[in-house]
Structures are given as structure tokens and as C-alpha cells.
């Protein structure tokens, strides 16, 4: 396609992307460098049905004057990024000097909200992504081998987890693993431990969320792999059969190299999706045991009665940077292959 044609084809999409993705990111970025103005408070008398007290309120007259002058707030630079609820630079320095062993240091660091969330997010990505790829590929291969007559219903059944809204999917599982739910109660019987609770232990909660993630994301990998399998040329496969190649050898040396670009694509999308894990935490009411970066943003925006725009913006920007770092190796490799192919 000549560059000019491509340009006109891409223009509407490009404009929409700038408008709905680019500009909001820039605005978020700008907000992350600002904090609220210093609050001007005054002592006043407050009376309610239970009596009167002297208490403090925000002085609106003075505050609105400052706000009108600088509506964005007080410039804070990277102040929000390095505070205790984000990268916690000062705290980590202090822990390094104060702790006696490396284990103790790690304990202290992983107790900080941002790092706690980062560790869960990365663990989730590391376990879910490869398993999604593997499971999706195995399902695609097996479905490709069954007779055409029952393939339709089977495919439909397989992609069901993806059709179910994530929140509903996690809620269903949440009730099933309840101590009185079908999975929870049977597990108690199986383990012969009437006090076993999947929701109270941190490890078990993490495992539940990871299994849910694999269940929910596998159909996506499966659909893409299944489509790719349809394009595998039959001649080399038949030739390999005549040469006496086993099924495993055929998959390893013919099918996999053929669909390799698709695997990269699915891995990229999967990583991106998993890094933003959010719904299962809400669905499983797992805030106590598992927090992700996206959950931190949500928490800053809604869980407080005071909305922390600066904090939420800073975490958002760091999530974007995190995704970029995670994807970098794959992107660099794709780019190199693209160059050599030309």
C-alpha cells in the first residue's frame, strides 16, 4: 500500500485515538504533577442533634480565591510519584539503612502499598499469561482434531468464559467457593477440614484469582490459535506423516513455527490485559488480600470520601510505564524480525 493511501485510511482512526486516548493520557500526566493547595482551615462552632462542639472547617472564602488563581493546584513535580504511597523513595532508603538482613528489607518494602500491588500484579501476569497461551493452544489443537459435526457446539462452550462479563464470572465463582458454596463445601469435605476457607487466606485468594484469570482469558487465546490453525498448509504435514513424524514432532516443527507470529500477538495482548487486572479483585471482595495497580487507582478515586486525583494520575502513569517495560522485549524482537524480513 502506498504511504499516501495508508495515511488517508489511517486518518479517522488516528484522530479518534488522539482524541480519546492521547489527550486523556496527556491530561492525566499533567494532573499527576499537581497536588491540592494548602488547605486554609478555621475554627468554628458546629451544632448537631447531639450537641455543639468547636471544630475546624475549610475556609471557603480564602480557599476559593487561591483556587481561582491556580485551578490546577500546587505544582508538586514528582512529589506524588516518590511519596510513601507510590515509589516511596525516602522510605526505601530508610529501610535499607535500618534493617539488618535482606529478608527484613524485602518485608518492609513489600509492606508499602505500591510495591504490594506491583507484586500481586506481576505474579498474576507471570502465572496467567503462559498458562493462557498453553491452555488456549491445547484446546485449539484438540478441537481442531474432533469431527466437524460436534465442533460448533464445542467451540461455543469453550468461548463462554469470555462471553460472561468478568464481574459476573468472578461473582459466580465467589459464591461457589464460599464455605457453604458447592466448591467450598466439597473442598472442606475432601480436605477433612471443616474450617478451611478459601477467602480468608492470602495465598488461597491469590490462587483463586489466578485460576479465575486463566479460565477467563484462555478462550481468547483459543479463538486466535484456532483461526491460525486453519491456515497451516496440509502438504508439509502430510509429508511429515509419510516420513514417520509423530504428532508431537509435527506440532513442534511445522505447526508452531507457522503460527509463531500469532503466538507473539496473543502474548502481547494477554500481558497488557493481565497487567491491568481489576474486576476479579472487586468480584471476589479480595481487597484485603490482593491489590493490583488498577485497584489502587480505583481506591484513590472512589474509596475515600476525598478524591485523590494526583495519586490516581501518578499510579496511572506508572501503570502505562509498567506495561511499556513488560512489552519492550517482545516489541523489540518483532521490530528486529520486521527489519530482517524486509
Amino acid at each position: 500500500m502506498p504511504n499516501k493511501t495508508f495515511f488517508w485510511f489511517f486518518l479517522p482512526t488516528g484522530l479518534a485515538m488522539i482524541l480519546f486516548i492521547g489527550l486523556p493520557i496527556i491530561s492525566t500526566g499533567i494532573q499527576s504533577f499537581y497536588a491540592q493547595h494548602d488547605q486554609v482551615v478555621k475554627e468554628v462552632k458546629k451544632c448537631d442533634p447531639f450537641g455543639c462542639t468547636v471544630s475546624i472547617v475549610v475556609d471557603q472564602e480564602k480557599t476559593s480565591k487561591i483556587r481561582d488563581e491556580k485551578p490546577l493546584g500546587k505544582f508538586n513535580g514528582f512529589g506524588t510519584y516518590i511519596d510513601r504511597n507510590h515509589l516511596a523513595v525516602d522510605e526505601i532508603g530508610k529501610f535499607w539503612n535500618e534493617t539488618n538482613s535482606f529478608g527484613e528489607f524485602v518485608d518492609q518494602v513489600t509492606n508499602l502499598p505500591f510495591y504490594k500491588a506491583l507484586i500481586f500484579t506481576l505474579t498474576y501476569c507471570l502465572f496467567v499469561t503462559p498458562n493462557v497461551l498453553l491452555l488456549g493452544f491445547i484446546i485449539a489443537l484438540s478441537l481442531n482434531a474432533v469431527t466437524r459435526r460436534i465442533r460448533g457446539p464445542l467451540i461455543f462452550g469453550t468461548i463462554l468464559p469470555m462471553i460472561v462479563t468478568p464481574l459476573v464470572g468472578s461473582l459466580v465463582l465467589f459464591w461457589m467457593i464460599d464455605a457453604e458454596g458447592i466448591i467450598g463445601a466439597n473442598l472442606q469435605m475432601l480436605m477433612d477440614d471443616p474450617y478451611l476457607s478459601l477467602k480468608s487466606s492470602k495465598t488461597l485468594t491469590w490462587i483463586t484469582i489466578i485460576i479465575y484469570g486463566i479460565w477467563h482469558h484462555s478462550p481468547f487465546a483459543f479463538v486466535v490459535f484456532y483461526a491460525a490453525l486453519q491456515t497451516v498448509p496440509q502438504e508439509p504435514v502430510e509429508a511429515a506423516i509419510i516420513d514417520g513424524a509423530s504428532r508431537w514432532q509435527r506440532v513442534r516443527h511445522i505447526v508452531l513455527p507457522h503460527i509463531y507470529p500469532v503466538v507473539t500477538f496473543v502474548a502481547l495482548i494477554s500481558l497488557m490485559d493481565n497487567f491491568r487486572v481489576f474486576e476479579p479483585i472487586i468480584g471476589f471482595s479480595a481487597e484485603g488480600s490482593a491489590q493490583s495497580l488498577s485497584w489502587l487507582i480505583y481506591d484513590n478515586l472512589v474509596n475515600e470520601e476525598v478524591i485523590l486525583f494526583g495519586s490516581a494520575a501518578a499510579t496511572s502513569m506508572m501503570t502505562i510505564v509498567g506495561i511499556a517495560i513488560l512489552l519492550a522485549p517482545v516489541l523489540i524482537r518483532t521490530w528486529k524480525e520486521f527489519r530482517t524480513a524486509r
Binding site: K74, E304, L308
Partner: protein, 406 residues
């Protein structure tokens, strides 16, 4: 003659409460939490809407909607039913209007004690009170010869006795869901210990002290007597636990008593469900509970005509003796003519015991938020009480700095 009859008619009926209900124009849109008493209140206001446009949003997520919706100009809602804690963000952002003029003009029947005044200006009109207090199963306590607990130490002892009897494995319940609910339990227990959240006259936190540690230890003891899933249980979830007969002692909101004692569910459990005042802790005099009021506020960013129409409709409900008589068991109404019934025992005891109201400080929301997430690991046994309190203070300080309080 006809004229005299008409004027007589007006004299007779014109003085009734409905006289002020002649709203000719304007649009009313109310944001409120979702529980039976508030539904009754808003329905009563609706009966007075006249020819005004009337809309209402009942949502348990009201806290998340309120500030953005009232910041818009014109704001989405003309009124917000708020409580001691949720009025604070509205005050901080200057989103609600003083009601003095409207109260003078249309506030007939509203008692002075219902008015929330801040710096001499009326900012809200309260209509009901709420608190968390103890519920107990009379049959279980009687069978095991346990006296009705008055302190949390007695609650622990009673729960242990029930557990030891083999009747119930997890005899105690309270809303310990990580986040707002758990933080609220800490606030109650800490106030019961006589603790202060901030150094006097400043926004500097001061919870990392002996009282804070004692508070956490008591919460942990109670959590150990609760269902192990307690960190996922909110008020609704423990209500279900209670109604399934798994629990014999519970700390829950007074506003939930109506649904606990209605005809739904096991009649035997309902009959044995009894209410008592909030418990004290650590030998303190004041209960480990906070008093709450629910009242209405009017949005600032809305036309005066809408504000007037909204006020008239809501004031009709806030001074309505008939509503108070009909719905006497739904809430502890602060409205004139309310006769407390058996479901109001909790709040009335709390007031008698001089419970403190929830602190109405501009930075309290940030402290509440920090508590909700940072004390979880202590309850899970992953860190010490001192460490948890240190974390709360540090998390609070970062947030307070960002918000300009420190």
C-alpha cells in the same frame, strides 16, 4: 356566602402541614443512600411535590457519586441526603448552600435540634439518628446462663463460652469488610478507648499509641470469634449470617433492625433476636460506638427556584408527624412526635450513655481510608499492631500532604 365558605375551608385546612405543599414549578432530584427509612422519607417528600418535576436516586454507592455530581454546574442533584461523615467532603469543596432563609420561610415544624449549624449557618436538616449497637440471641444466652454483655470484654467471654458449648463455631459477627466498614469498626473501638485521631488543633495523626494498640487487639480477638471470611463481610452479609442462625452476638447498625425483625426468615430466630445498647470497652464510660445523623443538604450549583422547590418537599417530610407515626420502627426519627419503640433501644441507650458523634473533621475521610486498608495485615496476623498503626499514619500523611492538609 360562597366566599365565606371558601375562606372558612381555607382556614380549616390551610393550616395543616399540607399548606406548604403547593409547589408550582422547579425540578427536584435527590441522591440518597438505600435503606428502608430513607425510602420512606423520600416517598413522603414526593407526596408534596405539587407540579414540580421529581426524581430520586437511591444507591448504596452514593458516596462515590456525590462529589462529582454536585461539582457539575448545574449539578445533577438538587439535594443530597448526607450523614456526619458524608457532609464533610461537600463542605470541603463548597458544594452545598446555607439553608437559613429557606428554613425561616418554609421550615415550619422543623425542630431547632434538627438543624445542623456550622459557623452559625444552617447547612443541613437532620431527620434520623443511627449508631451501631449490640444484638443478641436471647435463647442462646439464656440456655448457657450468660448475662447480656455490657462491655466488649464480656462479649469476648460470652462468645468463647458459646463456642466452647459447641452450639456455634463463630458466635460473633460485625461488618469487618476491608475498607470503609473495617475502618468504621476501628473508629468506634478507638473512641471507646478514649482515643483521639489527631494532635489537638492540627491534622497531624496521633493513633500510634497504647490506646490504638489496645483497639487493634480487641478487634483481633473479636475477629477470631467471627466467621473466618470476616474480611469480606459487610452489614448485609452479617445480617444473612444472623438470619441463618450462625451467630449469637452481633454489632450492627440500628437502621438494619427493621429488616432483621420483620416477618421474613426463621420465626424462631426473629423472636429470639433482642437489641441492647452499644458495649463499652477497657473500663471506659462512653460506648465504643459513634452517633450518626442523616439529614438533607441542598446543592449549591443549582438554581434558587429548584432549591426552593426541593426544600419545601423535603421539609414537608422532615416535619411530618404522620410519617413518624407510621414508620416508627424503621428508624430513630429526630422529628417531633416520634415515640421510640423496641427497635430504637440501641440508639436511645447510646445517647443516654453519652456516645460521641462521628468526628466531622475535614481530614477525617483520609484517616478513615488509610485505616480501612492498612490494618488488614495485622488482623491476618502478618504484622504487629505497632507496625500497622505506623503504616496507617504514614499512608494518611502522604494523602494529607497531597490534599494540602499538612
Amino acid at each position: 356566602m360562597k366566599k365565606i365558605l371558601i375562606s372558612l375551608f381555607f382556614l380549616l385546612f390551610g393550616t395543616s402541614a399540607y399548606a406548604d405543599c403547593n409547589i408550582k414549578s422547579g425540578s427536584i432530584n435527590i441522591l440518597a443512600n438505600d435503606f428502608p427509612a430513607l425510602r420512606t422519607f423520600v416517598e413522603t417528600a414526593k407526596g408534596c411535590k405539587g407540579s414540580a418535576d421529581f426524581k430520586v436516586t437511591h444507591s448504596s454507592e452514593h458516596n462515590k457519586i456525590a462529589v462529582p455530581a454536585l461539582t457539575a454546574n448545574p449539578s445533577e442533584f438538587s439535594a443530597r441526603i448526607a450523614a456526619n461523615s458524608s457532609i464533610v467532603p461537600l463542605m470541603n469543596q463548597d458544594l452545598i448552600r446555607p439553608l437559613d432563609d429557606l428554613v425561616n420561610k418554609y421550615g415550619k415544624g422543623i425542630q431547632d435540634s434538627q438543624l445542623i449549624t456550622i459557623d452559625g449557618k444552617i447547612m443541613a436538616v437532620a431527620f434520623m439518628a443511627n449508631t451501631q449497637h449490640l444484638y443478641y440471641r436471647e435463647d442462646v444466652l439464656k440456655e448457657l446462663g450468660i448475662a447480656i454483655p455490657k462491655t466488649y470484654e464480656e462479649v469476648v467471654a460470652a462468645s468463647e463460652k458459646i463456642r466452647a458449648s459447641g452450639k456455634m463455631q463463630y458466635p460473633y459477627a460485625a461488618a469487618y469488610k476491608a475498607g470503609w466498614n473495617l475502618a468504621e469498626e476501628f473508629v468506634n473501638m478507638y473512641i471507646g478507648h478514649g482515643g483521639e485521631f489527631f494532635k489537638s488543633g492540627s491534622a497531624q495523626p496521633s493513633i500510634n499509641n497504647a490506646k490504638g494498640v489496645a483497639t487493634l487487639n480487641m478487634l483481633k480477638k473479636l475477629a477470631g470469634l467471627s466467621n473466618p471470611d470476616y474480611l469480606t463481610h459487610d452489614s448485609e452479609a452479617i445480617k444473612v449470617e444472623w438470619e441463618s442462625g450462625n451467630v449469637a452476638l452481633m454489632t450492627l447498625w440500628a437502621s438494619r433492625s427493621g429488616t432483621l425483625l420483620d416477618d421474613d426468615g426463621d420465626a424462631k430466630i426473629t423472636a429470639a433476636t433482642k437489641l441492647t445498647g452499644p458495649a463499652t470497652v477497657a473500663g471506659g464510660n462512653i460506648p465504643a460506638a459513634t452517633l450518626w445523623w442523616d439529614g438533607f443538604t441542598l446543592a449549591k450549583n443549582r438554581s434558587d427556584a429548584d432549591a426552593e422547590a426541593t426544600f419545601r418537599a423535603l421539609a414537608h417530610a422532615a416535619a411530618n408527624k404522620k410519617m413518624v407515626a407510621d414508620a416508627a420502627d424503621q428508624a430513630v426519627w429526630l422529628i417531633e412526635g416520634f415515640k421510640p419503640g423496641p427497635k430504637s433501644i440501641g440508639v436511645i441507650e447510646a445517647v443516654k450513655m453519652k456516645a460521641k458523634p462521628y468526628p466531622m473533621l475535614p481530614q477525617m475521610g483520609l484517616m478513615h481510608g488509610a485505616l480501612g486498608s492498612e490494618i488488614v495485615e495485622f488482623l491476618q496476623g502478618k504484622e504487629s499492631a505497632e507496625q500497622a498503626l505506623k503504616d496507617v499514619e504514614a499512608a494518611y500523611m502522604s494523602k494529607a500532604k497531597e490534599q494540602g492538609f499538612l
